[in-house]
């Protein structure tokens, strides 16, 4: 009987359970956990986002696994969860970034872009017939010369972080970040921490084709993806590479 009651409350997205929960939103959070992890690290001179994008088959074209996306020249997003859902939100963010430039002739602030995304996500937790987004995002960029790092979740709540993980093994990676993070890191140390954080839950180590990294530094304010060679170099330097 108990089980049946609970089932009824998770049918409709707009229905609260008697104890005040939205089961569909909670299930969407589970969908995020099923995705591979992404991490973000804010340093004094820039923001780093890194994503685990290991392939399920050696035959897949690596470039078709997209987990890090440029939103505008000064903002990037890393996702965890349903990639198809992420793409929709990324397009919302890209459009809003351009609308901001058209309206005000200014680059969009990272905070206002994040809130545009989360307000959009929130509508899908309150609209009949809709399904919430099964994805979490890290929104990273430079705003008024300052690095900013935000997280969005399926409920549509924005959070700001110094360093954060989303997706599978989130708790373990977050604990690792809490132990290792230092405020006065430079960008290079941020890249190292992000890679070490991803490696901390990959027993087989990382390989350069299975990781995506981008930085946005305060100097250039430009989103920049690291090349495979750059990543391979660092994995070797930090001794995070796998056997093969």
């Amino acid at each position: 009987m108990q089980g049946n009651e609970q089932q009824a409350y998770d049918r409709g997205i707009t229905i609260f359970s008697p104890d005040g929960r939205l089961y569909q939103v909670e299930y969407a959070r589970e969908a995020v956990k099923r995705g591979t992890a992404s991490v973000g690290v804010r340093t004094e001179d820039g923001v780093v986002i890194a994503a685990d994008r290991h392939a399920r088959s050696p035959l897949i074209e690596r470039d078709s696994i997209e987990k890090i996306h440029e939103i505008d020249s000064h903002v990037g997003v890393a996702s965890a969860g349903h990639v198809a859902d992420a793409r929709q939100l990324i397009d919302v963010a890209r459009r809003q970034a351009q609308v901001n430039r058209l309206r005000y002739d200014e680059p969009a602030s990272v905070e206002s872009l994040t809130k545009e995304i989360t307000d959009y996500i929130q509508q899908y937790t309150q609209t009949g017939g809709a399904r919430p987004f099964g994805v979490a995002l890290l929104v990273a960029g430079i705003e008024d010369g300052e690095p900013r790092l935000f997280e969005t979740d399926p409920s549509g709540t924005p959070y700001e972080w110094q360093a954060v993980a989303i997706g599978g093994s989130r708790e373990d990676i977050q604990t690792f970040l809490e132990d290792e993070y230092a405020e006065e890191m430079d960008l290079e140390a941020g890249i190292e921490l992000a890679l070490r954080a991803l490696a901390s839950v990959n027993e087989d180590g990382l390989d350069a084709t299975g990781v995506d990294i981008a930085t946005i530094d305060v100097e250039t304010e430009q989103f920049q993806k690291l090349s495979e060679e750059d990543i391979a170099e660092r994995l070797e330097e930090f001794e995070l590479g796998g056997e093969n």
Binding site: V92, V99, R103, Y104, D105, E106, E111, E116, Q123, T127
Partner: protein, 230 residues
């Protein structure tokens, strides 16, 4: 794209309310207009805006002698009414709403460049017929004056003049402007320019309204004659 709350807004439309949907220039003869001279001067310590106070009908009748043609639209910015009074007033209300919304959402005021860009977009996108305002203000980057034309052109300058008395007033300022001048000196120059236009332009006159804008805010005062303003 699915956009249930119309969040992906058009850059040429206000977020609050809509642009008036009417043909520009309709019923031209019966529209109250400000022939007008409005002057904006940027100095290191702030911006001075001076305007005359006359409104006219059909170019031959003075329909009002105490119009306030400069309005605060932002904590540290003001805009002048030039052209159709109805068009300019609704334009000011829209811009003020947008500036307030931006500030309350983002917890920082709109920059003056962004404000002028927004004004240019609205002028271009909507039938605010025959308006030609000056936007002047102070932000983190300093003092700015912009002129906005009816087609949406937005031009920044050290000083700018709009309205029917433009030629006369510009002649007064030309050669007298100095980027190092104090706010008080700029104020005197702006008053002289409006006064000159009032003497020679039939669309301008009836005293002067002065707006002084600094990082602290906007102060607006009206004067019946030019001597008492100085």
């Amino acid at each position: 794209m699915y956009d249930p709350e119309n969040r992906l807004t058009d850059a040429h439309e206000p977020e609050v309310g809509t642009l008036p949907n009417e043909d520009g220039g309709r019923d031209e003869e019966n529209v109250v207009k400000t022939g007008t001279t409005t002057v904006g001067i940027a100095t290191e310590n702030g911006v001075v805006i001076a305007t005359d106070r006359r409104a006219s009908l059909g170019g031959r009748f003075v329909s009002n002698k105490q119009v306030q043609k400069v309005e605060q639209i932002h904590p540290t910015a003001a805009m002048t009414l030039v052209g159709s009074v109805g068009g300019a007033q609704s334009f000011i209300r829209s811009l003020r709403a947008e500036a307030d919304l931006y500030e309350v959402r983002r917890d920082e005021p709109l920059s003056i460049h962004a404000l002028a860009t927004l004004a240019g977009n609205f002028a271009r996108g909507g039938p605010y017929f025959a308006i030609n305002p000056i936007v002047g203000g102070v932000d983190e980057e300093g003092s700015h004056v912009y002129s906005v034309d009816p087609a949406g052109g937005v031009l920044e300058d050290d000083y700018t003049v709009t309205g029917s008395g433009t030629m006369v007033a510009t002649g007064t300022i030309e050669g007298q402007y100095d980027p190092e001048m104090s706010l008080g000196e700029a104020r005197d120059l702006a008053i002289r320019a409006v006064n000159a236009a009032a003497e020679r332009d039939t669309g301008s006159g009836n005293g002067v309204v002065l707006a002084e804008i600094t990082g602290e805010g906007v102060e607006i005062d009206a004067f019946d004659d030019y001597e008492s303003a100085e």
